[in-house]
């Protein structure tokens, strides 16, 4: 059963209102996105900056509201649960944020940071909450836990802070964990720790994870399936094992090629895309990728490709079977 089902979701942000505050233009941040995440899987979303992946994460955890479409977690509409039973909603889905520096109130200790959600929900007393926090720190291998409970965030390294953020997200035993770029602030030599921790947590808790990242290697390593986003749309969904060798969409191929530059992991010529990502305020007609695609034809310029399914994967490209 799918734990998370995203169907045709739209989120537009108004820009440059006129003097009466009416917006004439919109950033098409998330523009008709659909996918579903099975229970217990780690599902990845990749894309470059401005493709809408972070907005998508914020929509799913309910930090912002979607304009149209439907997001269901365990069969329940997010907008509904959020309105009717916000307590339960918070216990259903939690997030690990991107920036481990700004995610902490600099004036509060780790103890406060970890016990606060437990005190707000779950009806625990102070002492119980502290002992839960203790366990959580041990779960993310921050030991001795007592030492870390009394620290202020700035006394911890970036990697340690990232562990605390994971612990906090797990504190309410959510069914779905959304991790937004969990390792992008970390140096290469310590990234592996957090990657392994996420894997471990996933395995032990059987928790479903939505992993958002611009880093292909991380997504490849951790996920079972991957959605590739470009300018607010999902252009391809594929099995992670196919990412480096069997992707169908020309954008995915270019992304793969540019990411593994130097390491020679991708086969064949390095693909250099022309031009840059167009503005999400006025996305191109037809296929959004056509101005940068070297295969683009007239159809691509005029007609938006319908997402096609084949062998359980999705690709939104007019030409995928001809490439």
């Amino acid at each position: 059963m799918s734990l998370l089902k995203v169907e045709d979701v739209f989120k537009l942000f108004p820009v440059r209102p006129d003097i009466f505050g009416r917006a004439k233009k919109f950033v098409h941040a998330v523009d008709g996105v659909s996918f579903s995440v099975e229970e217990g899987e780690i599902f990845g979303v990749i894309g470059e900056s401005g493709c809408g992946k972070t907005t998508l994460a914020r929509l799913i955890v309910g930090l912002i509201d979607y304009d149209r479409g439907s997001i269901k977690i365990k069969g329940e509409e997010v907008s509904e649960v959020k309105r009717l039973d916000v307590e339960r909603f918070r216990r259903t889905v939690q997030m690990v944020p991107q920036d481990p520096v700004m995610a902490f109130n600099p004036r509060k200790t780790i103890k406060h940071f970890l016990t606060r959600p437990l005190l707000l929900h779950g009806g625990l007393g102070r002492e119980e909450a502290v002992s839960r926090a203790h366990q959580l720190l041990e779960e993310v291998s921050l030991t001795p836990a007592d030492f870390f409970l009394d620290r202020y965030p700035h006394e911890l390294s970036v990697g340690q802070r990232q562990r605390v953020l994971i612990a906090r997200a797990l504190s309410l035993n959510p069914d779905l964990l959304v991790a937004d770029e969990p390792v992008s602030y970390l140096d290469v030599s310590v990234r592996g720790q957090i990657i392994n921790l996420l894997k471990e947590v996933h395995k032990k808790r059987r928790i479903t994870v939505l992993l958002i990242s611009h880093d292909l290697s991380v997504v490849y390593h951790l996920c079972s399936r991957i959605a590739v986003m470009y300018l607010g749309k999902v252009v391809e969904i594929l099995d992670a094992r196919d990412l480096f060798s069997k992707s169908l969409h020309p954008y995915t191929q270019a992304l793969v090629s540019s990411f593994s530059v130097g390491f020679g992991i991708s086969r064949g010529e390095r693909i250099v895309l022309k031009g840059e990502v167009p503005s999400p305020i006025e996305p191109p007609s037809g296929c959004r990728f056509h101005p940068r695609c070297s295969f683009a034809t007239d159809v691509c310029r005029k007609l938006e490709p319908k997402p096609l399914f084949s062998d359980g994967r999705l690709v939104a490209c007019h030409l995928y079977d001809r490439l």
Partner: protein, 328 residues
């Protein structure tokens, strides 16, 4: 998402806002007149005892004082738009004429002083910021904070004592001497009268400008495009002026443009100390002689001037910064 406006709307918003501001200031003036103890006719005529009852009645009618309050307000606003602010009780003339005669001396004083302060203050600020923590920087910074902390009237008195009483170099009172012949002598006479009040205002505001420029320059000099400019091998002077100073202009414009009211209040005191025949001195004497129409008139005029200068400031921002001007 923060609201970004295109430049035309931006302009329009600012102009509309300025009109609203003037309207609000008028309302405040109206409320003050009507809330203050005493008959509002006094605010228009001054002491009512000098006029015949018929005349008072006619003025009452003209200013709609016999009408209900909202009509009074409309008449008041319309009068303002026509430039009718009542009559000065002391001078027996329309307030507008009384004030208009006093505007040029104030403009002369403020203008001279502002030009000097902006030039010298900017240079000192740039100099101090280009050598942070040097002796020069400490000296400039200390003098700035001392200047800002100096009560303006006290400084004026000290300067009078020094230049006028002890050294006998410059006159301490007024704008012109009585017996002067020829335009050249007249000009020199004016300059010598201008010296002390200008110096007083200059010294006070110099600290303000220097500090502002120093702080914003320090920030600009820390920015990465300054590093890039240095990496291009540009001479330090060019880095300072073309790259850093241009980028640190906004706070200076803010200081001058948005603090006009504050700068003018210094002028009131200085004009009083040096008996300079400007608006500030007029305000002071009018308060003393309870010439309410003039007091209110000056308040409205100064407030409107401040609103206009705020508007000009916004336009200057756009002139300095293409990111505002060229927002597509």
């Amino acid at each position: 998402m923060s609201a970004e406006y295109d430049f035309k709307s931006f302009l329009l918003i600012k102009v509309v806002r300025s009109f609203v501001m003037v309207f609000i200031i008028l309302t405040i003036g109206f409320l003050l007149i009507h809330l203050a103890p005493g008959d509002p006719i006094e605010f228009i005529l001054g002491g009512a005892g000098f006029y015949t009852p018929e005349f008072i009645a006619s003025v009452r009618e003209r200013f709609g004082l016999d009408k209900p309050i909202h009509e009074k307000f409309v008449i008041y606003v319309l009068n303002f738009l026509r430039g009718e602010l009542g009559y000065s009780y002391v001078f027996g003339l329309p307030v507008v004429e009384v004030i208009a005669a006093r505007v040029p001396p104030t403009l002369l004083l403020m203008g001279t002083q502002l030009v000097l302060v902006i030039v010298v203050g900017s240079l000192l600020g740039i100099l101090a910021a280009s050598r942070p923590h040097s002796k020069l920087d400490y000296l400039v910074s200390s003098l700035s904070v001392a200047g800002i902390s100096m009560p303006i009237f006290w400084l004026g008195l000290l300067l009078i004592f020094l230049f006028s009483v002890s050294l006998g170099l410059f006159p301490a009172q007024g704008m012109t001497s009585l017996r002067v012949t020829g335009w050249w002598e007249g000009f020199l006479d004016l300059l010598s009268h201008l010296f002390l009040p200008t110096l007083t205002l200059f010294l006070i505001n110099l600290g303000l400008v220097t500090r502002t420029v120093r702080t914003s320059m320090l920030e600009a000099l820390r920015s990465e495009f300054v590093v890039a400019a240095r990496a291009k091998g540009l001479p330090e002077r060019r880095v300072l002026f073309r790259h850093a100073f241009r980028n640190s202009l906004t706070p200076l414009i803010t200081l001058i443009g948005l603090q006009l009211g504050w700068l003018l209040s210094g002028a009131v005191i200085v004009e009083t100390v040096f008996a300079w025949p400007g608006m500030g001195r007029l305000l002071f004497t009018s308060i003393g002689s309870r010439d309410y129409p003039v007091v209110m008139g000056i308040f409205l005029l100064v407030s409107t001037a401040v609103v206009v200068s705020n508007l000009i400031t916004e336009l200057l921002y756009a002139y300095v910064d293409p990111r505002i001007r060229r927002a597509k």
